[in-house]
């Protein structure tokens, strides 16, 4: 088997070890660890901002006929909440983890293109700032975008959205898109070219596997969004009519191009989360991942299928039963590789020795919450069910079970797992348990009930609602849940603040984990592995080191 060597060209350049002090050592950094941490902090900042937008929405919806905010403001709130959480929180958090971890996990010294790495991050932050600058634009044409995070045309066209909000939205997303694309290209190059000797593709940690597939997916679909955004901008600024039916354009063209990007984007927001779970569950079960090849291959299957399911967002559009049927079958097919993952994670725990650290508890929470989101996703693939439930609160519940119950739970699991490596200190398990249980209760209180609201006929994206039977009480409960959820995030922040100062020292490998990042110090030295990368003869190099008599290779031979 051919083994990748570290290219000599990289040896000559010094990337990170320039002596800079204070904030400049961060802003001017091209070190993947610092850039990764900045990704995480930047995205966490936007997570708080997007969360505050959500709380304002829940206050408005707490009682019927509420006048806490005007409809214009409410529409800006949900547009910015969705856009923020998708483009400035979930994707950057996952890229942040990838940027920090991929070089460490494959035994590399940095990303393949360290300067591109820093550029990608700063361009993405610039896009976020530009998007939020829209709030500061005053006057009759001012205000944030208010056409929803998928900005359906022709509502997003100048005739119906004459404020500059949509322009800021399109320009901001263009910048974010360019940054994300740069990061993805970098991850692909890093994972393919910079693996340590012995780290073959079949031995890659699953987190790297999924990050790699994910980066490919970004490379494939992000240009579609950017093209669509440019078309929208041309419509709005140069008076063209790609998406203006009144002038011979097509409103549906926007939906096709947006979702051709948008649905793969949903998987872009979940695949690295699958990677986190695939690292955490085995370590805290004391066993290797069950069915490594199947977990990895199912990721590839999901990525491919995700390119052929976009029109399940368009079942209500009226494109005909044959059309609906094709996309329904493709969408259902995705449930199969996803199910394979769920079963393999569960099987990993069987006959294991489970340690219920906060990280593991969030992973278990992920397993159950994501299953609910995945299954309601299957319901949406069933076309007639979609005809009733799409654009209702049922779909709001569904996306939050996937993206919060799935991705955010996995991200919290990842934070508790890798925080010791990143900071050198352990997070408080005591506060962690409080964080977990409050999140679990708050999350389910907020969103479980929204399934029922959808079934009772409440459409999404309404700034207020009549006091129909049941709507009042359920909306109030959902608002209470949202505040509980916000409180749990506050506890998490307190945990971060306290543990950073006074947390227990972590040591190199506090969890008895097996992948390469645990072979170096916590936090890792600037050059990652000053003492050299341990030899890689299997998927769990640190297990092999600790059990030279029972390496993975020998165990797998025994198992046949």
């Amino acid at each position: 088997m051919k083994e990748a060597a570290i290219p000599d060209a990289l040896e000559g350049e010094s990337f990170a070890v320039e002596a800079r002090e204070g904030w400049l050592s961060w802003v001017a950094s091209v070190d993947h660890k610092q850039v990764g941490i900045m990704y995480l902090l930047g995205a966490f900042f936007f997570f708080i901002v997007g969360g505050i937008l959500a709380l304002l929405m829940r206050v408005q919806l707490a009682v019927p006929d509420n006048r806490f905010v005007t409809p214009e403001i409410y529409n800006q709130l949900f547009t910015m909440h969705g856009t923020t959480m998708v483009f400035l929180v979930l994707v950057p958090l996952l890229i942040g983890f990838s940027t920090y971890l991929v070089p460490l996990m494959i035994g590399a010294r940095d990303m393949a293109f360290p300067r591109l790495n820093a550029l990608s991050f700063w361009v993405q932050i610039f896009g976020g700032v530009m998007l939020y600058f829209s709030f500061a634009t005053g006057g009759v044409n001012g205000g944030a975008p208010a056409a929803g995070w998928f900005s359906y045309a022709p509502l997003s066209e100048k005739a119906f959205s004459f404020s500059r909000g949509v322009d800021y939205w399109a320009l901001g997303l263009l910048a974010i898109g360019v940054g994300t694309l740069g990061a993805a290209i970098n991850i692909v190059a890093t994972a393919i070219c910079l693996r340590a000797p012995g780290m073959t593709i079949r031995r890659l940690p699953l987190f790297v596997w999924m990050t790699l597939v994910n980066a490919w997916l970004i490379v494939l679909v992000m240009p579609i969004l950017n093209a669509a955004l440019v078309m929208l901008l041309i419509d709005r600024q140069l008076n063209a009519y790609f998406f203006r039916p009144a002038m011979g354009g097509s409103a549906l063209l926007w939906q096709h191009v947006f979702w051709a990007f948008g649905h793969p984007e949903v998987y872009i927001m979940i695949l690295p989360a699958f990677g986190i779970i695939s690292e955490v569950v085995p370590v805290f079960s004391g066993k290797p991942i069950y069915g490594y090849e199947f977990v990895a291959a199912s990721t590839v299957a999901i990525a491919f299928l995700s390119l052929a399911v976009w029109a399940h967002h368009m079942f209500a559009v009226g494109l005909g039963h044959t059309f609906d049927m094709f996309f329904a079958v493709c969408s259902m097919a995705i449930a199969v590789p996803t199910g394979v993952k769920i079963f393999n994670w569960t099987a990993t725990m069987y006959q294991g020795r489970l340690r219920f650290t906060t990280s593991m508890m969030f992973a278990l929470g992920f397993l159950l919450m994501f299953t609910i989101g995945g299954l309601s996703g299957v319901a949406f693939a069933v076309v007639p069910v979609d005809w009733q439930m799409t654009d209702s609160y049922f779909v709001v519940a569904h996306i939050h079970y996937v993206l919060f119950g799935g991705t955010v739970f996995a991200l919290f699991s990842g934070v508790y797992y890798w925080f010791p490596k990143i900071s050198g200190r352990m997070l408080s398990e005591y506060l962690g348990k409080w964080h977990f249980w409050l999140t679990m209760v708050g999350f389910n209180l907020t969103f479980m009930i929204q399934h029922v609201l959808g079934m009772l006929g409440m459409p999404r994206r309404v700034f207020t609602y009549p006091a129909l039977p049941g709507w009042e009480a359920m909306n109030l409960l959902s608002t209470v849940g949202a505040f509980l959820l916000a409180f749990s995030v506050l506890i998490f922040m307190i945990n971060l603040a306290i543990s950073l100062r006074t947390g227990e020292a972590a040591g190199d490998n506090p969890w008895d984990a097996w992948t390469l990042e645990w072979a170096t110090t916590s936090p890792p030295a600037a050059e990652n592995f000053p003492l050299g990368v341990p030899p890689v003869h299997g998927r769990r190099p640190l297990w092999d080191l600790a059990h030279p008599d029972r390496t993975d290779e020998m165990l797998m031979k025994l198992a046949g």
């Binding site: 409103a251 004391g286 725990m349 219920f356 007639p384 654009d391 006929g457 207020t464 039977p469």
Partner: protein, 315 residues
């Protein structure tokens, strides 16, 4: 609240063959998915309880997987999904039967943020309330005057988008007399929340009566106040946007008002239709539906009362 909200919009309380087919599939799907969820939850909970770390537990056996199990949990879900797909195909057929493209019984035009209802066969125009005869399957044509909207009456039919430049067709039917709540389900701008409507299903004879009454010209105003109101309606800008049949007001920018006094709700669901509410609405539309295209006409108290008196004669 009594009155307008005694009706509901519960998807699992269908009142038409189409909605019933969808509802059955929905319930079946929920049960199927519920069983899968219960299975996964039990497997996870069993692992949590049975395999939790105990003091002195031996190191677990390092197990790398099983091809047999992988095959099982790949193939079994495929088979189950094939069964689900068959049920789905059946429900698509019964839940959304082909609707006639020519000569529709009803033509619905969605506007930001109200519904224009045409009965092409009788020439009647209404707004925000759709009267239909019980037991008749009507073919409906849906068009948009501006952006994308969505027609959703959960108890009667599938949801269907109303896309500018792309007319859609639907069959609408109700098995029992009653009121069925509907709403725009696709975000369509500022007042998307108040783009609600009601479908009122009546026995065929009652419906025919209603249709006749709608077609008839409204009685001419008799009280001096109402006569003054009619004058204001024609002179001020009302007539530039609204239509009252058999009068000079013939515009179709805003809702047809020929029989506005007979409707249950005002402003596409924002207000119950009472004389007091009508006055309050005319006094300041933004108070109840901020962002709507109905302007504040700065009417004097006298003019306002006269206008309300006139509109209340449009039964």
């Amino acid at each position: 609240m009594p009155g307008p909200y005694s009706a509901n919009a519960f998807t699992l309380a269908p009142a038409s063959p189409q909605a019933a087919a969808i509802s059955r599939l929905f319930v079946g799907t929920l049960i199927f998915l519920g069983v899968v969820l219960a299975l996964v939850t039990l497997l996870v909970l069993y692992a949590i309880i049975r395999y939790r770390d105990r003091p002195g537990a031996p190191e677990p056996r390092q197990n790398f997987g099983s091809r047999r199990l992988e095959t099982i949990w790949t193939v079994v879900p495929i088979l189950l999904l094939i069964v689900l797909t068959a049920f789905m195909a059946y429900a698509m057929h019964t839940g959304d039967p082909a609707a006639a493209v020519d000569d529709p019984d009803l033509r619905i035009v969605a506007h930001q943020w109200w519904w224009e209802i045409y009965y092409p066969k009788s020439g009647v125009i209404a707004a925000n309330e759709i009267h239909i005869p019980v037991g008749h399957s009507l073919s409906v044509e849906l068009r948009s005057a501006d952006v994308i909207h969505d027609f959703w009456v959960p108890q009667l039919a599938r949801k269907i988008d109303i896309v500018p430049g792309h007319p859609n067709y639907l069959r609408l039917q109700a098995d029992h007399p009653g009121t069925y709540l509907g709403a725009c389900a696709e975000f369509c701008g500022t007042e998307h929340a108040w783009m609600r409507f009601q479908v009122i299903a009546q026995p065929p004879d009652k419906f025919a009566e209603w249709l006749r009454a709608q077609k008839a010209a409204p009685a001419a105003p008799t009280s001096p106040e109402a006569i003054q109101g009619a004058q204001i309606f024609a002179d001020r800008t009302c007539a530039n946007c609204h239509r009252v049949s058999h009068t000079v007001a013939s515009a179709s920018i805003g809702p047809d008002l020929t029989h506005v006094a007979g409707r249950r709700m005002l402003a596409a669901g924002a207000l119950e239709n009472t004389p007091a509410n009508l006055g309050a609405w005319l006094h300041d539309p933004d108070e109840f539906k901020p962002g709507s295209h109905m302007p504040n006409l700065q009417l004097s108290k006298n003019d306002l009362n006269a206008l309300v008196a006139y509109l209340e004669t449009l039964k």
